[in-house]
């Protein structure tokens, strides 16, 4: 088990290292941040001075090495736009992002579970098809469109829920639902196919033959097995949530990592772009790792094999 975790951590680190090169190059490809920082009337000398001041005049390899060297210690340099340590900005935004993602995941699960199980138990019936369409609908509309309609109707007209910002629990509902609904389809598919497979298994048949009541058969004997694929792909869903979040954060004025990245890109703020991408990747890696561990908890075969 420990060997397994160590090797997974190493794998993630290699992936992060590859990513750091890519993001370093890409961030610099976006253009010259000074154009946005300096006033229009700035002279070439002022440009050169600012470039030196910000350390942008050093050779790329040197810049990269110092970036990696400091990034390891959690120092991503200073934001060119906000002139503050990037890590501070990340620390400000990350919790918002994680909380929203977690809430969206919760909503998504609480829709996907009943739907997926219902669809599997009622396979081939109208209920199954309805459940699938409800789930797939969420994936078939652009998230920003769903978000805007929700803001307009639920917040603006009906005035039930806050339209934007983070003012406590109710603020999570609309963005969480928008994000969550988007991934319901994927999760529901996993659950449905997992449940179908499991419900047809010998052990579920045996449980029924034993006289176990049906809801126990479904929710206990079958579900724990069907959970495995859901858990396995939780990492992928999490990264989809984080990615899609840019759009949702924009509509709901949610101060998360996605917006930070967006602002970073539009102001060519290299350190911010680098930091956000790496942080996101690191989160995905951590989630994947914990998913693997969780997987082992659910499935004893894995737990003991490793």
């Amino acid at each position: 088990m420990i060997r397994f975790v160590v090797s997974r951590v190493l794998q993630s680190l290699v992936a992060l290292a590859i990513l750091s090169v890519v993001v370093f190059v890409l961030a610099r490809a976006t253009g010259d941040p000074l154009q946005l920082i300096l006033p229009m009337s700035a002279t070439p000398e002022e440009y050169a001075e600012a470039r030196h001041y910000l350390g942008l005049d050093r050779p790329y390899v040197e810049q990269y090495l110092s970036f990696v060297g400091r990034a390891v210690t959690g120092d991503f340099g200073n934001s060119l736009r906000a002139r503050r340590p990037v890590i501070e900005l990340i620390r400000e935004r990350l919790p918002n992002s994680l909380r929203l993602a977690a809430f969206a995941m919760g909503i998504s699960l609480s829709i996907a579970f009943p739907l997926g199980i219902l669809a599997a138990v009622k396979k081939g019936t109208g209920l199954d098809r309805t459940a699938q369409v409800i789930a797939v609908l969420g994936q078939s509309l652009p998230t920003f469109w769903v978000a805007i309609v929700l803001v307009e109707v639920v917040a603006g007209r009906l005035q039930w829920l806050p339209a934007g910002g983070n003012q406590g629990f109710t603020s999570y509902v609309l963005p969480g639902f928008t994000l969550g609904w988007f991934v319901v389809a994927g999760m529901m598919r996993l659950l449905r196919s997992g449940m179908l497979e499991v419900l047809d298994s010998e052990y579920v048949k045996l449980a029924r033959v034993k006289g176990v009541v049906e809801h126990r058969v479904v929710w206990m004997h079958a579900l724990k097995n069907a959970l495995i694929p859901v858990v396995t792909f939780a990492g992928i869903y999490f990264s989809i949530l984080v990615t899609t979040a840019i759009v949702v954060e924009t509509v709901f004025a949610w101060p998360g990592l996605g917006r930070l990245a967006y602002e970073g890109i539009s102001s060519r703020d290299f350190p911010v772009i680098q930091a956000v991408v790496l942080t996101t990747a690191a989160i995905v890696a951590v989630v994947n790792l914990s998913v693997d561990c969780l997987y082992a908890v659910i499935d004893p075969r894995i737990r003991h094999a490793r």
Binding site: Y53, R83, I148, G164, S266
Partner: protein
């Protein structure tokens, strides 16, 4: 299978009900907050010298200017720290007499030392304020003969010092606490700024909001009407309007397109009239205009092809008016004595435009690249570019729309790599001094690379303005510049933009003025 099947339909609606019935919290209803939703905080900086001119919305509530102005940008002795000012006869020594008893939020007195420190800091290396460069070349020294007196000595005679250090322009005139900054350092100041304005800094959550709290009694506004002022960053229009409807915000930026809808619901709309002029220009080559735009007739044809009234009506939903003069900032027209006559307006005349093109030998049309981008305060940017391109296509010009974001366009503009292609800008309206600064930047060849005009006659007049200390002569020269730019069609004026702000129904009288990047919340917050 039955028991489960029976259970689920019961569970599902229950879940939904739980989700929907979550406590609907009323936000900020009872709180004595004035909440303002804006679409962009630009740099989100709290330090005025770090491009603070872009975010004067909140900075001007936290800091005092050396010279105050009215909401319409006229220098005023009531709005700034300087209660009066005068210049020496040679117009090289400007003395400002400071208001007494003004304190920073940390209790320190505001003195002439702070003014001197602030100006030097604005001219310093770290500074990226709008006109830091000008400050560096203009100022020779700053003297502080008394705590309430500061003398600015310029290298050349000039009239512009008071306007230049006023609230109407950039942030160079903001007075910062010397002792505090020297004690805590620039970075700490940038995180927790201390000023002397009517509201003091409480917290900033980047990407979300900035919260200010009122000081008890301030010379600018008296006893504050609102305990707190909260600026919220909400980039999506629909969301801002929903926030207004829910009473979560009191003032919000809205698009011109939605003004009618909100007026119908009787939300008061406050306009910043002629806040900006939307003007288009050709990117120059290394040696100025390139063919076919080198031909005056082509420039005129392109101007005549555009139906400005229709654009004002449709794209800008009527909250705009056709503009007659390229780069023409209308506020200054009165000051410099320029009278805009109806014949200066470009008529919509595609037939004549076609003929002009034919005369110029490009009757078969030519290909033209037009950049399309959004700008702060101009959400209609792309649609506008598409609409104008549509008009040009109708006279036979083959337009290729190039969507970019503004920084990318700006690079193409100043690098002059794509001469002959079209760009545009919504230039914030300003007084004669600001107008001159604009002309200097965008119409004066020696100011490369931002020049868009490249005309020797214009260059000559602008060079004279800089040395001139007689207002009348300055005015005449500037009238000359505008007349020349208009008659040579050295650019394409499109419309003057009125920018709407919607307010909650219980909000009082408010003139948001039209000073760039400032909304003059003083009036709303004032208990006077």
């Amino acid at each position: 299978m039955k028991p489960f099947a029976r259970r689920l339909p019961k569970v599902l609606p229950l879940l939904l009900v739980v989700l929907l019935a979550l406590p609907v919290s009323g936000w900020a209803q009872a709180k004595p907050d004035l909440t303002i939703a804006l679409s962009s905080f630009s740099t989100e900086t709290l330090d005025p010298v770090l491009a603070g001119h872009l975010v004067k919305y909140y900075l001007s509530m936290m800091f005092d200017y050396l010279v105050g102005t009215t909401p319409d940008g006229v220098p005023s002795k009531d709005g700034g720290l300087a209660m009066r000012w005068e210049s020496s006869p040679d117009q090289k020594r400007w003395t400002f007499h400071l208001r007494k008893g003004v304190k920073f939020h940390n209790g320190d007195d505001v003195t002439s030392e702070d003014v001197k420190f602030s100006l030097e800091r604005a001219a310093g290396k770290r500074s990226t304020t709008g006109y830091a460069g000008l400050l560096r070349t203009m100022v020779a020294s700053i003297e502080t003969p008394a705590p309430d007196r500061v003398v600015i000595v310029t290298k050349d005679p000039t009239l512009i010092v008071p306007n230049y250090l006023s609230r109407a322009l950039s942030t160079e005139g903001m007075v910062l606490p010397k002792k505090y900054i020297e004690a805590v350092g620039d970075d700490a100041f940038g995180r927790k700024p201390v000023g002397s304005g009517p509201y003091k800094f409480v917290e900033q959550v980047t990407g979300s909001h900035i919260r200010l709290a009122a000081v008890d009694n301030h010379w600018r506004i008296g006893a504050p009407k609102y305990k707190n002022m909260v600026f919220r960053l909400v980039s999506e229009e629909t969301t801002r309007i929903a926030l207004l409807r829910r009473g979560e915000v009191d003032v919000t930026e809205v698009s011109r397109e939605r003004v009618k809808e909100l007026e119908k619901e009787s939300y008061p709309i406050h306009f910043r009239r002629e806040e900006a002029v939307l003007t288009m220009w050709w990117i120059l080559g290394p040696d100025g205009m390139v063919p076919p735009m080198k031909d005056k007739r082509v420039r005129e044809a392109m101007n005549l092809a555009v139906d400005r009234a229709e654009i004002a009506q449709s794209i800008f939903a009527g909250s705009a008016e056709p503009a007659p003069i390229p780069l023409g900032l209308s506020w200054s027209f009165k000051e410099i004595g320029l009278k805009v006559t109806p014949d200066m307006q470009y008529p919509y005349d595609p037939a004549r435009a076609k003929k002009l093109l034919a005369d110029a030998g490009v009757g078969g049309g030519f290909s033209l690249d037009t950049y399309a981008y959004q700008l702060p305060g101009l959400p209609e940017g792309k649609a506008f570019a598409e609409a104008v391109s549509g008009y040009w296509e109708k006279i036979g010009i083959k337009v290729k729309l190039i969507p970019v974001d503004y920084p990318a366009f700006r690079k193409n503009w100043v690098d002059r790599k794509t001469p002959g292609s079209i760009g545009y800008f919504n230039i914030a309206n300003r007084d004669w001094m600001g107008t001159f600064a604009l002309l200097e930047k965008q119409a004066y060849s020696p100011s490369k690379p931002t020049d868009t005009v490249n005309d020797p006659e214009v260059d000559g007049m602008l060079a004279q303005v800089m040395k001139q200390t007689d207002r009348e002569k300055i005015n005449a020269l500037m009238r000359g510049v505008y007349t020349r730019i208009r008659s040579e069609h050295l650019g394409m004026p499109i419309v003057y933009l009125h920018s709407p702000y919607a307010a909650s129904k219980k909000l009082g009288k408010w003139n948001p003025g039209s000073v760039m990047y400032d909304l003059f919340f003083d009036e709303l917050a004032s208990g006077k």
